[in-house]
């Protein structure tokens, strides 16, 4: 009953297949603005950053658009994750695209500010 519901929620997460890496990546192409909408939830770190990298590169290969990253549910990003974003940005810049990072939590934004990456990406912080 109550328990069943909790389990079910968990089951859904497993079925999505990525939660065991503590991250969930969802993407959708938006033709009108020539952009990928990517939403990240969980923690991006040295363990799952490679997965994020291959996801982003696949998108870029599929369509040379901008990348709009929604970070409403992003809880953590480390240097490895930043490296992936930097690396993706390089590729996107090759075709004059941009990477826009939306709804960053303030304490994650801090990591971008510290490293000067706030000047490289277009960032909007959560209010």
């Amino acid at each position: 009953m109550f328990y069943g519901i909790m389990f079910l929620k968990y089951q859904e997460r497993i079925d999505k297949g990525v939660w065991h890496m503590n991250i969930n990546i969802q993407e959708k192409w938006n033709e009108r603005i020539n952009s990928w909408n990517v939403s990240l939830s969980g923690e991006i770190d040295i363990y799952n950053a490679p997965e994020l990298k291959s996801s982003l590169l696949k998108l870029i290969d599929e369509k040379n658009g901008n990348i709009i990253v929604d970070c409403t549910n992003l809880k953590y990003i480390d240097s490895t994750g930043l490296g992936v974003l930097i690396s993706a940005l390089r590729r996107v810049k090759d075709y004059n695209g941009e990477i826009i990072i939306n709804n960053l939590q303030p304490y994650i934004y801090k990591i971008f500010t510290i490293t000067g990456l706030d000047k490289v990406f277009t960032i909007k912080v959560q209010e």
Binding site: N22, D45, S79, I114, T115, L117
Partner: protein
């Protein structure tokens, strides 16, 4: 002075364990949300640095020395540092982040080889004006890509 020791496999999948343990300790001694986050980031990046740099690390030892004055001296050390991996562009980024979010960082070196880090973080437990908030550290900002 209380001491907590954590020893774990030096593999990417265990860094989340190091982070949660660090957060729990910092929370317990009264660090505020921002200070907890800072120490978590520093310990995690120290681990990243060591894992990224050497082939032959089998485990990391993380020792926390907790002082009455609400500061934590954390040592993050690699079990092996004889076989360096190739260049890694994120090493510098890790070092930069560790230094930015803590009060003091010392590299533990032997014959010029970095074996670990000693990280000092003092908690105030309350709002320090222009302290560890975003604004206070803005001046140190640096660009990584052009």
């Amino acid at each position: 002075m209380d001491e907590i020791n954590l020893k774990l496999p030096a593999r990417p999948e265990y860094m989340s364990v190091a982070r949660l343990a660090t957060a729990a300790i910092a929370n317990r001694i009264g660090f505020n949300i921002d200070e907890i986050e800072d120490l978590k980031v520093a310990v995690s990046e120290a681990g990243n640095f060591l894992i990224n740099r050497y082939e032959d690390i089998s485990y990391l030892t993380i020792d926390y020395k907790i002082s009455r004055n609400r500061s934590i001296l954390t040592s993050v050390k690699a079990s092996g540092t004889k076989v360096p991996k190739g260049e890694n562009k994120e090493d510098e980024l890790s070092l930069f982040i560790i230094e930015s979010v803590t009060d003091k960082v010392t590299k533990q070196t032997e014959e010029g080889i970095i074996k670990g880090f000693t990280i000092l973080k003092t908690g105030g437990g309350h709002l320090e004006q222009g302290g560890s908030g975003i604004c206070g550290k803005k001046g140190k900002g640096r660009r990584y890509v052009g």
